[in-house]
Amino acid sequence: MAASFAEQLSERRKAALEIYEREPVPTWRRSGFWTTTLRHLRLDELEPRHYEPVATFGDLPATVTEALGDEEPAGLVVQRGATSVYSALDPELAEQGVVLTSLERAVSEHPELVERWYMKRLSADDGKFAAATAAFWSGGAFLHVPKGVRVERPLQVVYLIDEPGTAQYAHTLGVVAENADCRLREYCLAPDFEGQALHAGAFELYVEAGGRARVAHLQDWGSGEVYDVSEKRVEIARDAHATWIPMHLGGHLTKQKLDIITAEKGSDMRHSGLYFTQGHEHLDLFTTDLHEQGHTTGDTVWKGALTGTSRASYEGLIHIVYGAQETHTYLQTHSMLLSPKAKGDAIPSLIVKTDNVSASHGGTVGEIDETQVYYMMTRGIPRAEAVRILVEGYFEPVVQRLEDESLEALVRARIAGKLAEAEEQVVEFTAQRASA
C-alpha cells in the first residue's frame, strides 16, 4: 500500500511538472486597473535550499523562537528552506493518536490517511505556482487529530526562509476527524534580508463531521524581497466548525487565494483576517466563502491598514451554490489608508444561485477618523499615540477572535512595531487631514 501511494505521488508530481513547464509566469489583472505582476521576480535565480536538522527547540533559528516564544509548543513542525528541520509532538498527544509531522514523512508512515485527503480541494492545474508547489514541495506538514480527540494547546507549523535566493515549495495537509477539536497556527517567517526569495505554498485543512478547528496563519516575511504565491483551503463537513484567521504582516509581494468551504449541512465558519502593509509591499488577496449545501452559516470580517506606497487589494466573494437554501452568511471588509501614497481596495462580491438565503456584504476604504483623533487629543493624548491607539483598536476585534493570548500579544506587538516605523509619516498625514 505504502509504495503504491508513493508511486502515485511521483506520477502526480510529474504531471504537475508538465503543467509548470507549460504555464507562463502569470499576471493577474482585475477590473482594468489592479495588476499583480511577477515580472520583477527572477525565478531562475532561486533554488531550494537544504539545511541540517536541529536536535532541540532551542537550536532553532532566532526568527522562529522569537515568534513562538520561549515555551516549546505541544506540537511543532519547522521547515527551513526546503528541509523539514525539526518536528516534535507531546508524547501524550501521540499516544492519543494525534499525528503532527512533515508531510514527506507522513507519506511513508501514514500513506492511507494522506492518500485519502491529499489535494482534495487543491489542483495542480491552477497556474504556474500551484503546479510548482504540487511538483516540487518538500518537507511540508501533516496533521491528523483522530476522532473525538481534543487538543487544547495550539499545534504549530513554521515555514522559514533564511536567506535570499531561496525557493520554498510548501504543503500543509491537516485533518480534524469527527468530533475532534484543535488549534493550528501556521507561521511564514523570514528575517530582514536583501534579495529575492519565493514561497509558493499550499495549505489544505479538512474538518470532519462535528469537528472543530481554530486556525491562525501569521505571515511576516520581513523586509526582504519575498514573494508569496499561495493557495489555501479549509473545508468544513456536517455540523463542524472552523475559525480561520490569516494575518499578513509582511511580504514584498503576496498573491493568495483563500477558500473556506462549508461543504455539508450544519457547517459553520468564522473567517477573519488582517493585513498591515508598508513600504513598497504589494498584497493581493482573494477569498471565497463557498457554501455547497444549505443550512450553513458564515461570518467573514477582514481589516487592513496601509502605510508607505504600499498596495493592498482584498476581494471577498460569497458564493452560494444552487440548492444551498437556508444559508446565512455575511462578509465585511475594511481598509484604512495611513499614507497619501498607499492604495487600497476592499471589494465584496456575491454569487447566489438559490433562494431562501441571507447573504449580506459591505466594504469600506477609509482613513483615520479625525473626530476620534481630536477627541483623544483633548484628553492629553498626543496625536501619534492617538493614531496608534485607534489603529490598534481598529484591528482589536479581529485580534480578539484569535482567542489565543500569546498569539494576540505577538500580533499586537508586530502591529505596534510597524506603526512605530511609519509614525512620522502617519502623523503628518493625519495632521494635514485635520486642518484640511
Binding site: 481630536y374 483633548t378 493624548i381 498626543p382 499615540e385 491607539i389 485607534l390 481598529y394 482589536e396
Partner: protein, 251 residues
C-alpha cells in the same frame, strides 16, 4: 489663576461664528454660558479646546497667563483644560479602563501605579454610580446618551483639570441621569477647579448654582450677571434677551 478669553473671533468655512468674545473663568468659580441653538456656544467650547476645524482670526486664549491660542488640543489638555463633549466620539476597540489609563498617564511624568489607578477609578465610579462592567466596554461604542455623558464626567473626575468646560452635558438626559451627572460635577467643585457650564436650558442649574451667568447670542456675549440672570431667562426666554439687545442697538 484662570482661563482668559480675549476678544475671540473664530471662523469656519469662510463664515465668522464668534465676533469678539471675552470671558474669564478663575479657579474656584462656576460659570454658566447660556444661549439658544446656533448662538456659538459649542464653537466657543471647541475653540477653547483647540479643535482644528475652527480658525481663530483674532484674539487670545490664555491659561494662567500662558498663551494657548496656537496650542494643540493635547497640549491644552495637559495644561489643565478639559471639555466634556456634547457628542463624544466612540473609540471602538479601546476599553473605557484602557482609555482612562492612557489619558491619566498622558498628563504625568511617570505612569500611574496599577493599584493607585484602580483605586482612583473605583472611587470615581462609585461617585457617578457606574457599574464596574462599564469600564470593560469599548469607549462610547454603542453607549446610550446617558452612558456617554457619564463617561465624559468620569473622565473629568479622573483627569482632575483646573478648568472644565461642560458642553451641553445636560442635554439628552432623563431626570435621574441628570441628577447623577450634576451630583458628580458638584462633587468635583472646589478651589482647584474652575467650571464653565454650557447649556441651552436652566435645568442643570437647579442642581449646580453658578456664581456667574453669561448669555450668548449670534456669536457675542450680550448679557452677564449672577445666578438671578438664569432665573430671569427661565421666566422670559431667549426672545426677551434678543429684543432687549435689538432695542439697545437702536433696532
Amino acid at each position: 489663576m484662570s482661563l482668559e478669553i480675549q476678544n475671540l473671533h473664530v471662523r469656519t468655512d469662510e463664515r465668522e461664528i464668534l465676533h469678539g468674545v471675552d470671558l474669564n473663568v478663575a479657579k474656584g468659580e462656576i460659570h454658566a454660558l447660556m444661549g439658544p441653538n446656533g448662538s456659538g456656544k459649542s464653537t466657543l467650547a471647541n475653540t477653547i479646546m483647540g479643535n482644528p476645524v475652527y480658525e481663530i482670526t483674532e484674539g487670545k486664549i490664555l491659561l494662567d497667563g500662558d498663551d494657548l491660542t496656537e496650542a494643540e488640543p493635547d497640549e491644552r489638555a495637559r495644561a489643565g483644560i478639559f471639555m466634556a463633549f456634547q457628542y463624544p466620539a466612540s473609540i471602538p476597540g479601546v476599553s473605557v479602563a484602557n482609555f482612562l489609563r492612557t489619558a491619566v498617564n498622558a498628563g504625568r511624568e511617570e505612569a500611574i501605579k496599577v493599584k493607585e489607578f484602580g483605586a482612583l477609578l473605583r472611587e470615581n465610579m462609585d461617585l457617578l454610580k457606574i457599574d464596574p462592567e462599564f469600564t470593560k466596554r469599548y469607549l462610547n461604542d454603542g453607549f446610550s446618551g446617558g452612558e456617554k455623558k457619564r463617561a465624559e464626567i468620569l473622565q473629568l473626575a479622573m483627569l482632575a483639570p483646573s478648568i472644565a468646560v461642560l458642553d451641553e452635558t445636560d442635554s439628552g438626559l432623563d431626570i435621574d441621569a441628570l441628577r447623577v451627572v450634576a451630583d458628580g460635577v458638584k462633587a468635583m467643585q472646589g478651589p482647584e477647579i474652575g467650571t464653565l457650564i454650557i447649556t441651552h436650558y436652566t435645568r442643570i442649574l437647579e442642581y449646580i448654582t453658578p456664581q456667574f451667568v453669561h448669555i450668548m447670542l449670534d456669536g457675542r456675549i450680550v448679557r452677564e450677571g449672577g445666578p438671578e440672570l438664569a432665573d430671569e431667562l427661565e421666566d422670559k426666554g431667549y426672545d426677551f434677551v434678543r429684543d432687549e439687545v435689538a432695542a439697545a442697538n437702536g433696532g
